[in-house]
Symmetry: C2
Subunit: 281 residues, 2 copies
Amino acid sequence: MKISIIGVGLIGGSIALKLKQKNTADFIYGIDSNIDNLADALQLNIINEKADFKTGIESADLIIIAVPVDSAVKILPQVLDLISDHQTVMDVGSTKSGIVKSVENHPKRSRFVAFHPMWGTENHGPKSAVAASFSGKAGVICDREKSAKDALELVESVVLDLDMHIIHMSAEDHDIHTAYISHISHITSYALANTVLEKEKEEETIFQLASSGFSSTVRLAKSHPEMWLPIFKQNKENVLDALNEHISQLRKFKSALEKDNFEFLEELITNANKIRGILDK
Amino acid sequence: MKISIIGVGLIGGSIALKLKQKNTADFIYGIDSNIDNLADALQLNIINEKADFKTGIESADLIIIAVPVDSAVKILPQVLDLISDHQTVMDVGSTKSGIVKSVENHPKRSRFVAFHPMWGTENHGPKSAVAASFSGKAGVICDREKSAKDALELVESVVLDLDMHIIHMSAEDHDIHTAYISHISHITSYALANTVLEKEKEEETIFQLASSGFSSTVRLAKSHPEMWLPIFKQNKENVLDALNEHISQLRKFKSALEKDNFEFLEELITNANKIRGILDK
């Protein structure tokens, strides 16, 4: 199968590496407005050839859109305009309501399958791409009833080739869930980084004491705005819900401390400890 | 040198393993009110022998107190009561003002060196102990002017044997710094866990989507209240300062989102990204 990947960054690059390894892809075209990324992807054998937008799309059986979600909603209709009924299009965006809405009335809507692999890192670009990235992780397919049977089957086989397990849900549910399980984690990390950076202006030695605990909690704060600003923008209402809940949870800790209510503080900690049983099972 | 370790858990156990490996310790006594931990520590060759409080303390050149900080402030004066001027005592607690205050007028104060290794995990108990835990991390020694020269030199040589680099500061400064670089990370993680656990009551599938990003940010939420409740209690004022700053940083994200002020949101993210340069250098 010939595959075109629009956006040969961390996610697009990792998918390309894995699908080559699995022989799912015989040939991969790379389409990217960032010529450095294209050059890196070629050099790293992530793609076989770079292509312009039109040629790349017309030459592929499967087109994978792996650009930030604000670009994805603009690019998807243009891709559908160019394809035939024998071609399939999938995306990998972290928000799903916006992208399915961008093509809801498009005559080729059924050739598109909305997908989100639950994997990412704070890094970006093809140099960070790793073939094994997705193994064992969840691959979410949204609004499957809007996709043609053969398109859905093709994308599902690709997701299984990425060694992911498939979860189906509506785009709307996806965006609620990811606000809580992914988007809010990023805001928490960004805000924690800013908290400590603000304090560091007075206390210069603060980062000498950073241990692995701090590094772990703040890791996502390294994530780039090019990817995350459009996600927060598109999923604004759900992210605000999660953020309000998170601030109200933090206020419980504040209130318990202020009132020397250490029984309540212990209760809050013990409740949070339940995450161990859930994440480790 | 003979060493007694009071509290053969994650930290006490890891120190014991490392100091045996380095031949700093010829013989290690373990003192612990938890008999399971003592049995595990014996079986894992973390300690040579278990001892009762009095015998353990009188038999050792160096006594290391590695219990939660609420117990440490009670135990330290009792230990100093029992020792001679040829013995040295150190602790490993995550708060330092309380412990130095607990012995400020003790006649044996100068035999005590206040220490905090900047390492820990969300796990506990001797089974989680690892000899290499401390390598490359910061070891903070507080209020060194209050310790006798020979006691300080002994503890510094032990810290170097743990492969740590030594940082000196006052107990007061230590508690301000760790509130920001360590204690607040734990509250953030606990509150994030509670945020998602609260939402899960409505949305059962939410944890199926958990990726490594969420796991990383929420990892510290697995940490036990036995250790952390006393830390928050002892460092209440500094933790509240950090928590207030953190909530105010989160409110900036909330306000930017609510007002569709994406320029400000981008600024907040870009500022947080600076953490990459600081942590990776």
